[in-house]
Subunit: 386 residues, 2 copies
């Protein structure tokens, strides 16, 4: 029973920690031996997921393949499956995480709540003045494929800017996805896990704080009303069934004055679910492995009333690991997770989870440890007194 993971990033690294615990063998396809997961895995293949032979080597070295990221070639994956190598999630689901235009089209046809959108593939055009007039400037323009962590998402203020950014996407052969810019009251994420046989479980819905498109903090349950959380969970469960995902799926949503809308999907463990490592009966990484191996799913219940998860980023001055840990481990409640990356300004290096029965304590403790590890405190994060 051996799991192959495409990609050597932190998600792979955290899957490996759980695989080790469960006695499951692993092999990672990493782009570099310096990748976070490559540094903690006994068997590492160096290669790119767009390289057929690298993917074939991975397939022949394991029983089932899963993913650390979605920057993969669906055709290669489809061919591996056709040749008898299981890959989860399958391309029929993965397409909705890989391609935002496909996701918008299919989920809107399924009646799921979405912002208005317009898909503009290379070689085609749209009346931008008319679009701006109809939805109101600025608009959101996304690269349908290839973006992550805020990359590939542009706020365009007028028709000229829109045309120029769209032109750049088209020049790279990438489809443009225009969306109306909704007034966001809160950002949420709903995390579910689904097994090939359809067994499905949802973790409690979380509130996320994003700065410049990058997740900085996850609060469970945050300030979300039970009614909103229930709706978000229902949407995620419906999406998971609709696309028949296998493994963990995160649905990122916006709460607006008109209700919830789906923002994005991720079909793998997700930053908004890192809190589950220390705040839920079963972590997203363990349940992802269970799902892709078609094993019974673990309970997704919270193990405390409140959990805060704060991402660790490199600041303008790199802090040595030892110095950072000396400070962070002095916060008694903090569970520190680091990804084995060298510090660099703005680079995501890890996260800190704190679970407890006092909502402001868990948040304060998590930020205290994260800042000890060198994370700059963003102005946008309010209400935390260190």
């Amino acid at each position: 029973m051996k799991v192959g993971i495409v990609g050597g990033g932190q998600l792979a690294r955290m899957m490996l920690e759980e695989a080790s615990r469960l006695g499951i063998d692993t092999v990672v396809l990493a782009e570099s031996p310096e990748d976070g997961a490559a540094k903690v895995c006994a068997e590492v293949l160096i290669g790119h997921p767009a390289d057929r032979s690298a993917m074939a080597s991975l397939a022949s070295a394991c029983d089932v393949i899963t993913l650390d990221h979605e920057l993969v070639d669906l055709e290669i994956i489809g061919d591996l499956i056709a040749a008898g190598h299981p890959v989860w999630p399958a391309p029929s689901a993965l397409i909705y995480a890989v391609d935002k235009a496909e996701m918008r089209t299919t989920l809107s046809e399924a009646g799921l709540p979405m912002p208005r959108f317009e898909i503009v593939p290379p070689g085609s055009s749209v009346d931008l003045d008319e679009l701006g007039q109809r939805w109101g400037w600025p608009l959101v323009l996304k690269a349908a494929r290839g973006g992550y962590d805020g990359k590939g998402v542009f706020i365009v203020g007028d028709a000229d800017e829109a045309a120029s950014t769209l032109g750049e996407l088209h020049a790279q052969g990438v489809t443009g996805l225009f969306e109306e810019r909704v007034e966001i009251e809160a950002e949420l994420a709903a995390l579910v896990v689904r097994r090939p046989n359809g067994e499905i479980k949802a973790w409690p819905v979380v509130e996320t704080a994003q700065v410049a498109g990058v997740c900085r903090e996850v609060l469970v349950p945050g300030d979300l009303s039970a009614a909103i959380a229930e709706k978000a969970e229902a949407i995620a469960l419906r999406v998971a069934d609709e696309v028949a995902v296998v493994g963990v799926m995160a649905v990122e949503l916006f709460a607006t004055a008109d209700g919830l809308v789906v923002n994005e999907l991720a079909m793998r463990p997700h930053n908004s679910g890192h809190w589950t490592q220390d705040g839920a009966s079963t972590s997203q990484f363990e349940n992802h492995l269970r799902a892709v191996l078609d094993l019974p799913l673990g309970s997704t219940e919270m193990s405390a009333r409140f959990v805060a998860s704060v991402n660790v980023f490199g600041g303008s001055e790199a802090i040595a690991l030892e110095e950072g840990l000396l400070g962070a481990l002095d916060v008694p409640e903090a569970k520190v997770h680091l990804y084995g990356k060298a510090s660099r300004e703005g680079r995501k290096l890890g996260h800190v989870n704190v679970a407890g029965n006092d909502g402001s304590m868990v948040r304060r403790a998590a930020w205290k440890a994260a800042t000890a590890l060198g994370t700059p405190m963003p102005d946008e994060i309010r209400g935390v007194e260190l």
Copy 2:
């Protein structure tokens, strides 16, 4: 910040899981690439701890060395330290885990409660008839060095049997340690962790169930009275300070009608402390790493009222990993830990932890998962209804 671990067993494997989480690099000196820890570590040296050059390679590949087991050469370790390579625990502490005769002598001089004992090195003798008369047959005879998991411990029924077993030890150059056989009311273990600067923490004392010298089950708090647990903890804290251990130390004790006596010491994470992975704020593996790296120790508080930890052993028929996991993961409360070993009758393959607020539930759930993984239910374990 890189930790080198001598030995590739399950204790090393579980240290690696925590090291990965904390972003700490690791290198393992394993005897075989098939060792449990070698299968999950990116950097593995193959060699024996009694081989000076293997130990020197390990030292030059890391910043600090620690141990998976105590079957090591204290002279080699002493020389590494003298050459400037930190090793924790240091030989001045380790000797009491490596050599039971040294442990008995030093701890009894320190006034710690012990069974009566008599040390008989090769080349010397003792009046066995007189010893048996004084303490009453049978006696316990231990190999002063080299034993583990019940190996190297003999119950000798009369002077002839005692002489013959002692002769075998002496023929191997091993000192014999005779001990009176005490009437055991309960077996306990007290687990502590100590940092180079003297910071020390104790986890709650546990009750263990041993069958033929092998630990089968750990219950926290078990049936121990608060008074007994307090005394056991005080003994462990005193021993740790007395020998200035760095890292985790387990003191195994017997409760007798006359009070507690020290049975053995282990200076590394210990089977009686595996419950801390899922039942305490900080696991013994994380705190062991923190201690040997001289980082602040984490809280040792329980995270639930009751914890049961049951060891997984191979039965007469090997169960495939997948089949075992299908059953064990179906027990919702169970946290399954497997060591990546092939199943063989009587081989320790893993353990299952269950934490909760109902003492009989946690025990039943842990045994349910352990038996699903193929563990035979020993007749000596009472009061569990599967």
